[in-house]
């Protein structure tokens, strides 16, 4: 097996998927899942930048207690668009559409996904949805909050329908990706690749795909119903005509809660890969981690009402959602313990991907535990719709999902591009991002419990110090995010060529060249060993099964 950082002279394979065909049409009409993943990588990065700009506007406004930087309408649009862009055009697609698309076929030993043309269609739907939403932004924006609650969203004078339909179209992108992954995992696995030999990355993407296909259509119809309210004057959510605005909340959260598991499960899949590779050890409790992914997917569908504890939902319904929300926390906890146990007696290397993985474990633990705070009904009454919630979900979505995304990007970058990035800058950036992130969001727990509501442009003066801390952190975070952009781009031009297995890791992707040929495998692999087989024939249980 190849050693990490060993001075083996590598050369980039002369013909690989990046240069096999040339010209813009060969990219825009490609059926190669790897090229489609790169199309997504570019577009997702652009949307991340846009979402980040909106976040910057919000944090700048919040430097002072007065609403003095932006017009109130503009501020309301800034936080709305930050949410819409980040949730629907960055977080939901990011890992599945970039890393999932690229790696899933390789990890199952296939030449491509089951439906390559549908994969390309997914990207085009994402772009079309993105353009529609951009059109809404450019022509004046939306100010309803990313949650689009009526009656305000029915009457708001902003471009709700256009933005909503943009999200609707992007949702179909998500559905088709999920569909493709499910059929691929069921039907395209290489000979010998039984379910329990699959990498945990595949398990988590399978679970994510189940959520994508079952949940996304519900938000799609919800958006359509809202659009029909506005365009045709139907009264389904209009209280003056017998409609119930809280029905929208139920329909919306029926998707949007599972959506957060769409956002975190792929990152958890990356986590399993990183922890195994950088400990050179099997993931502790493999089947428990695999089943936890499935458990999260299933339980994630029955907890949506914890967003409605104070919305006039009955107390008894609330009780049911509270107890189920406690249950959904358990499989996530199981995973965290298993990853921690994987480190025990591992051979651990602190490369940049591992820094992100270790950061993930800490930050996701905090984010997940603060979710438990919110599931406790007596506490939720006080902190609902405050910055406590904002901090909670940013710990999961940034500290969790984005750390997973960045860790995965760094880990697989040599495979995807055939280039090595600068490890020193990568580790420095990981550290800067970690510090900036905590400085941004930890004060928000405090100011949230103090009572500062969400979506506020102005606030009582005694909240200012914490807000200034948060904005300072956001500045550090922004710097941290810019660095990978620079050194990744630099590596494409000046990076050293990557060997097939720079990390000395196990997995089918490391058996093919960096970058690989278009068809991935010249001969179909036949799999005879379990995943993460660092100790062939010697694996033992620690304390009995």
């Amino acid at each position: 097996m190849n050693s990490a950082h060993a001075p083996v002279a590598s050369t980039t394979p002369p013909v690989n998927y990046l240069n096999a065909t040339h010209g813009i049409k060969s990219w825009l009409l490609t059926k190669d899942h790897k090229r489609i993943a790169l199309l997504y990588l570019v577009s997702i990065t652009l949307f991340f930048g846009l979402g980040g700009l909106f976040a910057g506007l919000v944090r700048l406004e919040l430097l002072t207690p007065q609403s003095d930087l932006l017009q109130p309408e503009t501020y309301n649009k800034a936080f709305t668009l930050h949410g819409v862009v980040m949730v629907f055009f960055f977080l939901v697609p990011s890992i599945p559409a970039v890393l999932g698309n690229w790696l899933l076929p390789v990890m199952i030993g296939a030449k491509d996904l089951a439906f390559p043309r549908i994969n390309l269609l997914s990207w085009y739907l994402y772009i079309i949805g993105g353009i529609m939403t951009l059109a809404a932004i450019v022509s004046g924006g939306v100010d309803t909050g990313w949650t689009f609650y009526p009656p305000y969203s029915t009457s708001s004078p902003t471009h709700v329908v256009l933005a909503g339909l943009g999200v609707f179209v992007a949702g179909f992108s998500s559905i088709l990706t999920g569909l493709n992954f499910i059929v691929s995992v069921h039907r395209m696995r290489a000979p010998g690749l039984a379910w329990f030999r699959l990498p945990l990355f595949v398990w988590s993407h399978y679970a994510t795909s189940l959520i994508m296909i079952l949940g996304t259509p519900v938000v799609a119809i919800t958006i359509l119903l809202l659009a029909a309210e506005r365009v045709f004057g139907l009264g389904i959510f209009d209280p003056a005509r017998g409609g119930d605005p809280v029905l929208f909340q139920h329909l919306f959260w029926f998707y949007s809660h599972p959506a957060v598991y769409i956002m975190i499960l792929p990152a958890m899949g990356v986590m399993s890969e990183l922890v195994a590779a950088f400990s050179r050890k099997n993931v502790f409790g493999y089947s428990f981690v695999a089943f936890s992914s499935m458990g999260i997917a299933v339980l994630g569908f029955v907890v949506w009402g914890h967003h409605l504890f104070v919305s006039s939902q009955s107390a008894y319904m609330g009780l049911i959602f509270s107890i189920l929300s406690m249950l959904v926390a358990i499989p996530s906890a199981v995973k965290v313990f298993n990853w921690t146990a994987t480190l025990y007696k591992g051979s651990i290397s602190w490369d940049a991907p591992m820094m992100y993985a270790i950061g993930f474990i800490g930050l996701f633990t905090i984010g997940g535990l603060t979710g438990v705070f919110l599931a406790v009904m007596g506490i939720d009454v006080h902190v609902h719709d405050t910055y406590f919630v904002v901090a909670h979900f940013h710990y999961i979505m940034v500290g969790g999902a984005i750390f997973g995304y960045l860790g995965g990007l760094h880990y697989w970058w040599p495979k995807i591009t055939g280039k090595l990035y600068n490890e020193y800058w990568a580790r420095a950036s990981a550290f800067i991002i970690f510090v900036g992130f905590n400085l941004t969001f930890f004060p928000q727990f405090i100011v949230g419990y103090l009572g500062m509501p969400r979506r506020y442009a102005m606030y009582p003066p005694e909240f200012q110090v914490l807000n200034v801390m948060s904005t300072a952190g956001a500045t550090v975070l922004a710097v941290g995010y810019t660095l990978p952009l620079i050194y990744f781009l630099y590596s494409l031009v000046k990076g050293a060529p990557a060997p097939a297995n720079p990390w000395g890791a196990k997995g089918l992707e490391w058996t093919i060249p960096s970058p690989p040929p278009t068809e991935n495998f010249l001969v179909t692999p036949v799999v005879t060993e379990p995943a993460y087989n660092y100790n062939p024939g010697r694996e033992v249980e620690v304390a009995g099964r």
Partner: protein, 319 residues
């Protein structure tokens, strides 16, 4: 409200302490597990750092005992949290009998309050310390939320229905009031203060203003809108007698029955055809658009003030 860096909110209601105790417990549990995980991760990552380039980790696959341990213990802890949290919540959700009723209506972008004796307020709420106060809250337009951090209480104001919250303020003083559900342009300006007074001071304050009591306003509306032409004091009218109805069980024409809570009363005025009382014809017109949310609360207050009818109601259902 003057310090530059408060880190914890004031506790100014009987419930606040319960919420804070629960909160501190969850903080302690979370801190314990966070520190535990962080310590294990860091110590493993240092102790087991790679020493040779070709080194691999130990051949360990797992442990059923550990899996059970770290599944069952978190499960037990979360169940405790659920029960405790539910207990605190249910206490917060059920106003005690005999609470002083105050009516609140939210509209973009202000809070309008009516005290029972007629005193009105905008963006402020004066209450006496040491008494159970029950707020009945409506909205005129979009969803708002009435949030008093110092009391750890919050409930959404949802158009088309009425919601309630209750509290018992312990310390005289002024406390923040925030709208906590995004409602448009001036959402962050839809704020105010809760003014808690010693009971004597509160009585003085009450006697200072007022005008017609809420239920008297409701009585006037009842006549202005001609409700009294169908809802007579005794049976025989085209509509049911209303005295004694609030809180009672009402038999409906389709055979089902329903408790006449505030939302039933509100719906009966705004969409009377939704539930027809047994033995009556669906004659009542809707008052949607003809009465404001405040007017509705005044009418409800008036109906609640009516003595139970002395003669039998026509549906014969005694209680």
């Amino acid at each position: 409200m003057g310090s530059t860096l408060p880190l914890f909110p004031e506790a100014a209601s009987t419930q606040a302490g319960n919420v804070d105790l629960l909160y501190f417990f969850v903080v302690a549990v979370s801190a314990f597990f966070s520190v535990l995980i962080a310590a294990l991760v860091i110590s493993f990552a240092v102790k087991f750092r790679r020493r040779q380039p070709d080194e691999v980790g130990a051949p360990i696959t797992g442990s059923l005992a550990l899996e059970l341990l770290w599944t069952i213990i978190p499960l037990m802890i979360t169940m405790v949290l659920f029960v405790w949290g539910a207990w605190v919540f249910l206490d917060m959700a059920r106003p005690p009998r005999g609470s002083m009723e105050i009516y609140v209506v939210g509209k973009q972008w202000m809070w309008k309050v009516q005290h029972p004796d007629g005193q009105r307020e905008i963006n402020e709420l004066h209450v006496p310390a040491g008494r159970n106060i029950r707020l009945t809250i409506g909205s005129e337009d979009v969803i708002h939320s009435y949030y008093i951090p110092a009391f750890r209480q919050k409930i959404d104001a949802v158009p088309g229905k009425l919601t309630t919250m209750w509290f018992n303020a312990t310390k005289p003083g002024e406390y923040h009031l925030f709208c906590a559900e995004y409602c448009g342009t001036k959402h962050s300006g839809m704020i105010g203060k809760i003014v808690v007074m010693e009971p004597d001071d509160f009585e003085n304050w009450l006697s200072g203003g007022g005008g017609m009591s809420t239920s008297a306003s409701g009585e006037k509306l009842f006549a202005d809108l001609a409700c009294n032409t169908c809802h007579l004091e005794n049976s025989g009218g085209r509509g049911p007698v209303l005295g004694g109805v609030p809180g009672s069980l009402v038999q409906l024409a389709d055979g089902s029955s329903v408790i006449a809570d505030d939302n039933y009363l509100r719906e009966s005025i705004m969409n009377p055809q939704a539930k027809i009382v047994a033995g009556y014809q669906p004659l009542m017109p809707t008052f949607q658009g003809l009465v404001t949310e405040e007017g509705l609360l005044q009418l409800i207050s008036y109906i609640k003030s009516l003595p139970p009818a002395s003669s039998q109601t026509s549906n014969g259902a005694g209680h």
